[in-house]
Structure formats: C-alpha cells, structure tokens
C-alpha cells in the first residue's frame, strides 16, 4: 500500500492521489462526524458547530495532508452555514421576543437556509463515509477553496 507520506511534499500531488493509512481515514472522517454532531447539537446556537469544527481542525492541523485537507474542508463548509444560521437564529430570537413581526420574508429565508442545512448535512454524511473508505469527497466550491488553503 502506498503511503501518503511519500507524496506529502510534492506540490503537484492532488488530494485524490493520496492513499491514506487506516488511522488517517479515521481521523479525517472524524472531522466530518464532529461537524455533523455539532450541527445537530448546535442548531439552536450556530456558533457551537463552527467552534467544534474549528477545535477539531486545531487538533488535526499537525496531522498528515489527508487529515488536514479534510478537516479544512469540514471547517470551510461550516463558515457559510454559520453565517446563514446566525442570521436565522437572531431573526428568530427577534420574532420570539416580539421585536419584529413574523413575515413571509422570514419564512422564505427559513426555508432557503433549511434547504442549505439539509444539503450540508447530506454532503457531510457522504464525506464522512467516503473519507472513512479512504476516498476523497470533494465539495463544490469548498473543495477548491481547501486546495488553495491547505499547504502540503
């Protein structure tokens, strides 16, 4: 079995070309599991999932390229989710505390953000499963951003 350590310092190697070790698969998959659990726990308080994913990234940043790449992708995917959920959260609080009225705009935003949350949830599950199998699940946009951010 080819070790990823051989490729780590080669800038031309794509993440897809790396064959990770068993423990790397487990750790990389853990990043997505962590963000998945955090999303479920942190839905009422969006900061929790971002903080949890960020924490897991900090723990994994000294890991191999495969682990770091996946943890960064998990972190990057949480950023727009955090912003959208935060807006929704405070908007909801304002409605619950009667500082503003319930409106069609709120419901429209609620539906859109929830659709995005579902998409994020499905993609996170797929990423966790694929990563555990040693495959790379590249998200649209976030995968490209991760390529730019993640140094070998």
């Amino acid at each position: 079995m080819e070790s990823c350590e051989i490729h780590v310092n080669d800038p031309l190697v794509r993440i897809e070309d790396i064959v990770p070790h068993e423990d790397e698969m487990e750790r990389a998959s853990g990043c997505y599991i962590m963000s998945l659990v955090a999303v479920m726990v942190g839905l009422p308080m969006p900061i929790i999932n971002l903080a949890a994913t960020g924490l897991f990234y900090l723990m994994s940043r000294r890991g191999t390229f495969f682990v770091r790449w996946n943890s960064i992708q998990a972190l990057v995917s949480q950023v727009p989710l955090f912003i959208m959920n935060n807006i929704l959260f405070w908007w909801t609080i304002r409605i619950l505390f009667c500082f503003t009225d319930l409106s069609s705009a709120y419901i429209a935003y609620f539906i859109t953000v929830n659709l995005y949350n579902v998409y994020d949830f499905v993609e996170t599950v797929r990423s966790a499963v694929n990563t555990r199998k040693g495959k790379v699940h590249r998200w649209y946009l976030y995968g490209t951003i991760t390529d730019k951010i993640c140094k070998r």
Partner: protein
C-alpha cells in the same frame, strides 16, 4: 482563484435564486399566519396565568351590573363591546388596571370605595382610554416575553407575583402625559354616555383623599389631574342619567363587600 470566484458566483446565484423564488410566495396567507402570532400566543398564555390568580367574582349581581356599565360606555363611544373584557377580581385593594389582551381588571375593593356608578365608570373609562389610545400596546408583548422568561427561570408560574408584576410593568410604561390623556378621554367617555364627566375629577380626588393612589403607581399628583379635568369644557347634553337602578348599585357594592 478564478475557479473559486466562478464556483462562488454559481453557489451564490443558486442560493439567491432559491431565496428569490421563496420570497415570491406570500407564506403568511398560504399558512394562514398573522404577523403577531408569536406575541398573541404569548399574551394568551400570560393572560391565562394572570387569570388563574385573579379570583374572579362570578356572581351575576356583581358581573352583570359591571358588564352593563361597560356595554353602555362602549356603545356610546363606538367601541366594539366584544373586544373588551372586564373581570371583577375579589381583591380588597383599591385598584383597577388594563392588562394584556384588552382585559380590564376591577377589584372589589375599588367598587366598594366608589360613591356612585359614574365614579366606577370614570375608573373603567380611564382604563378603557389607555386601551383605546394604544398606551399599553407598545411594549406589552416584550413585557409578556419578560414574564415568560421569568416563569422559565423561576420554574413556576407564581400567579400572584405575575399579576402584580403585570400591572406594575404596564403602569410603569405609562407616562404622566399618557395618564392625563387617559383622564381626559375617560371624561369624554362619561360625557358621551350622559354621565357627569366631572365625576372623573371627583374620582381622582377620592383617591387623593384616601391616600391610596396604588391604583396605578404613576397616579400621584391626582389633585393636579383633577384640576385638568375641571378645566375641560363640556357642552350641556341633557340631564345626567343613571345606568343602574339605585337598588342594583347598592346591591353591587354590598356583594363586593360580602365577597371578601
């Protein structure tokens, strides 16, 4: 970088397209929701809790005369009677207040102290004026939320405390200028139903003489307020009438006294 920008633009386009499509739908109509549904539900809940602590007097001989006075006042002033609910509470405190959900609470202690039905109408008119002039609409929902939080924090719905807190919070939010407006509007309500509007001034002086003034915390300086009422000009609109028969009024006072 170009690829990131392209993918970002496409993602943003997709997100905003979905948002745009969902914004085209009038969800409030589709789901039969009202904009103030959250506040309304909270108010209903707070009212239910408040009501539990009121000890409502349900004798017909107390309820019906008070309802008659309120009905007469509403009809004479073009107010929807069904939108106002007056509850007589078995409470010795000389107090009356408007509260959530267009409810007016009148204590038996207040009815006992009133010299005549016009004075009782003056107090009810004052509270009705607060409701009609929208004095307690602004901020009342926030107060309801505050109470809900308080209930959650304390873990119980201490209804006695809740009732006091409600009246206190509401009265604190009413400024002296609004009190004067409510006095004047209340006097106009009396005039419209052919009762002596000056009974509003008499009532304020009665409160002053009792030294009570707990009937709203910002009701100090009621002498000055009574003077303001006496300065108002009302054209003669015929002899003042009696809504309740003297016997009914006396019976009402007696029942309130006995309810204690």
């Amino acid at each position: 970088m170009k690829r990131i920008l392209k993918e970002f633009a496409l993602s943003a386009l997709l997100f905003f397209s979905i948002l745009f499509v969902t914004l085209r739908v009038d969800w409030m109509s589709v789901l039969h929701l009202s904009p103030t549904i959250v506040g309304d539900k909270l108010l209903e809940w707070v009212w239910d809790l408040t009501y539990q602590g009121l000890n409502e007097v349900k004798y017909d001989k107390v309820r019906l005369p008070v309802d008659s006075l309120v009905h007469e006042m509403c009809v004479a002033n073009g107010i929807d009677t069904a939108s106002i609910s007056v509850v007589v509470s078995n409470n010795y405190e000389v107090n009356a207040y408007a509260t959530v959900g267009r409810h007016i609470i009148v204590n038996t202690g207040l009815i006992e102290k009133m010299d005549n039905e016009a004075q009782l109408c003056a107090v009810i008119g004052h509270e009705l004026a607060h409701l009609e002039l929208g004095h307690i609409q602004s901020g009342i929902r926030q107060q309801a939320v505050f109470q809900v939080i308080l209930i959650f924090l304390t873990g119980n719905g201490n209804v006695d405390g809740l009732v006091n807190l409600t009246s206190e919070l509401i009265s604190n939010s009413i400024t002296r200028a609004k009190e004067n407006d409510a006095d004047e509007q209340g006097a106009r309500f009396l005039y419209a139903m052919h009762l002596d509007p000056m009974e509003m001034a008499n009532t304020l002086e009665t409160f002053e003489s009792y030294g009570i003034l707990s009937y709203l915390t910002d009701h100090d300086d009621s002498k000055k307020r009574a003077e303001n009422i006496r300065k108002m000009h009302f054209a003669y609109n015929g002899p003042f009438r009696q809504v309740l028969s003297p016997g009914t009024w006396e019976e009402l006072k007696e029942k309130c006294n006995r309810a204690r």
